[in-house]
């Protein structure tokens, strides 16, 4: 094998854009300004689960400096968007449902941020309230109102490896517990922001806005607006952190519509509160986990039921909850595994990607089980983990054979050494 040139490996390389970032020159989307630029604000849902019966923009429209207000009635041809399932409406129309507090009811475009914010407050809305479902267990009940057209259970995934029944008969100790994790916001320091510019000559919409999936965002904006992809140009400025939160569409489609409608550059920056309410979160999981172990401390079986609250819209929820289940044994060898995972709609803020993508929620459950089991068996928890940890050649709950580097044992040993585990804390 030819030797790799040692230009980078084993050396500290300065980040290419660090100089721009320490001087404040790096341009994030909110740092871009155009002459004649307009500002956009969104009138959002007034209730987490309700039919929109009336929307009155007349007072808001009269404010000097308000250039345009767009409601669903103005854009009948615009389609839903979404990462996996196109279930998110761009604007909620009369007779349609708002499903969480982040749903958009109207796009307000004005000469300044202040005017746009003032106009948003003057939009009058009448709604017909429905039962608000904030608990996924309630959402799964037969008599619960449907949040979308079909079942509130968006997807159910199954997992089976070996014979879990046999595995539990081999166990000397069985522990079963329920674990619950909470919503988390990714909180990238940069809030969602962008600028849209429409060129009437080429009919190309240029969007300067952060995204983690440049081409997916382009495709989703295009299908929603019914335009060919080449008419949507996404220009990626410097991103001020994302951690999964910028996988989903945020400002993009609203900016495109505003730019087309006004033929002027439009800027849209969320407030932090808006980002908290309207943009994705980490899924809260309810995890029922049963784990079997022999007297000598070897895991024999793991059975798990996962309920993941994906909120009002699917986002990447199907994949996150599904993947979370696949991590049910953590980095430990278990021959017999059985699992079921439900991804459930509620009226909470929708949940999507966040660092770990379902794996971290599950870690809370399986590592807690490991501690409880080691305590019951009176085995040192580090030793208990080491004797069950994956090796080269181990097979995961979904049957993947680990043929590349498997560093968990070294990691556990190193962590124990560094924390002075043996000497006691």
């Amino acid at each position: 094998m030819k030797k790799m040139p040692k230009r980078y490996v084993g050396k500290n390389i300065f980040k290419v854009d660090a100089q721009d970032k320490v001087t404040g020159k790096a341009q994030y989307s909110d740092d871009i300004y155009f002459d004649d630029m307009l500002y956009l604000k969104i009138k959002r849902a007034t209730y987490p689960h309700a039919y929109l019966r009336r929307i009155d923009i007349s007072k808001a429209q009269k404010i000097p400096g308000v250039v345009k207000i767009i409601t669903a009635a103005d854009i009948p041809e615009v389609k839903n968007f979404g990462l996996i399932i196109k279930d998110q409406p761009v604007l909620i129309g009369i007779g349609r449902k708002m499903r969480y507090m982040g749903d958009a009811l109207a796009i307000v475009i004005a000469e300044s941020k202040e005017i746009a914010s003032k106009a948003v407050k003057l939009i009058e809305v009448e709604v017909e309230k429905l039962e608000v479902i904030s608990d996924p267990l309630r959402a799964m009940e037969k008599d619960a109102p449907l949040i979308h057209q079909d079942s509130n259970i968006l997807a159910t995934h199954y997992l089976e490896k070996g014979d879990v029944k046999k595995g539990f008969t081999q166990a000397d100790v069985i522990v079963e517990n329920e674990y619950k994790t909470s919503f988390l916001d990714q909180v990238p320091l940069q809030i969602e922001a962008g600028i849209g510019v429409f060129d009437p000559e080429t009919e190309i919409i240029k969007l300067w806005a952060a995204t983690q999936w440049l081409h997916d965002t382009q495709a989703d904006v295009a299908q929603s607006l019914g335009l060919p992809k080449e008419k949507i140009r996404i220009i990626q400025p410097v991103i001020g952190g994302a951690f999964g939160k910028k996988e989903d569409i945020s400002v993009h489609i609203h900016l495109a519509l505003a730019a087309i409608a006004t033929k002027r550059p439009v800027k849209f920056s969320y407030t932090r509160e808006e980002s908290m309410i309207a943009q994705s979160k980490r899924h809260p999981f309810i995890i029922q986990m049963k784990t079997g172990v022999t007297k000598k401390g070897y895991l024999t079986a793991c059975q798990v039921e996962v309920i993941g609250d994906t909120g009002a819209y699917a986002s990447s929820g199907l994949a996150v909850v599904h993947k979370g289940m696949y991590h049910c044994t953590g980095p430990y060898n278990v021959d017999n595994v059985k699992g079921v995972a439900h991804t459930v709609y509620t009226n909470n803020t929708y949940c999507g990607a966040m660092r770990g993508f379902g794996a971290t929620q599950m870690a809370f459950a399986y590592e807690s089980q490991m501690d409880i089991l080691s305590h019951k068996l009176e085995i040192d928890p580090v030793q208990f983990r080491l004797q069950n940890a994956y090796n080269h050649g181990s097979s995961t709950p979904n049957g993947q054979i680990l043929t590349h580097s498997v560093g968990v044992k070294e990691t556990i040993k190193e962590a124990a050494d560094m924390t002075g585990w043996k000497e006691g804390r």
Binding site: K21, V22, T23, G24, Y33, L189, I191, V238, G241, T271
Partner: protein
């Protein structure tokens, strides 16, 4: 909308500018002066991304009205370093890998600047306290502590100070 005229010195330059009674200093700096190195992360004085130095004090520019800056002396990130040369703190941030997404970096550097002016030989605990008003979501802070230690070391060496003191 009533307009008011204010004057102040920002990064060594005198400015006279029209503003409104409800314009935040942050908006004045960004939207009117286009000094966009000052960032908005929360708008509530919690995150420190909008940090500037005003009359020698670290302030969250999202909590200051533009009118309060009348007559003030202000330093933003654009006023750190000179003539295309990085300040030792900026240089240390680049060299230690203390910069990732970079959104907190301008505020962090200003907080570090203020800290090292007051306390040229900070311990790690003092560094932590010095930047406690500034949130970072990427680095886990360790590299930022390293950067400030490195800058402190270099600055004290340059000034004939204790130099290699282990902070």
């Amino acid at each position: 909308m009533s307009k008011l005229t204010i004057g102040f010195i920002i990064n060594g330059q005198k400015k006279i500018i029209e503003t409104t009674p409800f314009t935040r200093l942050l908006d004045l700096i960004r939207d009117d002066l286009h000094l966009t190195g000052t960032k908005e992360g929360c708008g509530k004085g919690e995150c420190g991304a909008c940090t500037v130095i005003m009359n020698g004090e670290l302030v969250a520019s999202c909590l200051i009205l533009a009118l309060q800056a009348d007559g003030a002396v202000i330093t933003t990130i654009e006023g750190i370093g000179s003539g295309g040369h990085l300040d030792p703190i900026q240089k240390a941030f680049v060299e230690t890998g203390a910069v990732q997404c970079g959104f907190c970096t301008p505020g962090m550097i200003l907080a570090a600047k203020k800290l090292l002016e007051e306390n040229p030989y900070p311990t790690e605990e003092e560094i932590k306290r010095g930047i406690s008003g500034n949130l970072c979501r990427c680095t886990g802070y360790q590299k930022i502590f390293d950067a400030i230690k490195l800058a402190a070391n270099r600055l004290s060496t340059r000034d004939g100070g204790r130099g290699e003191k282990d902070a």
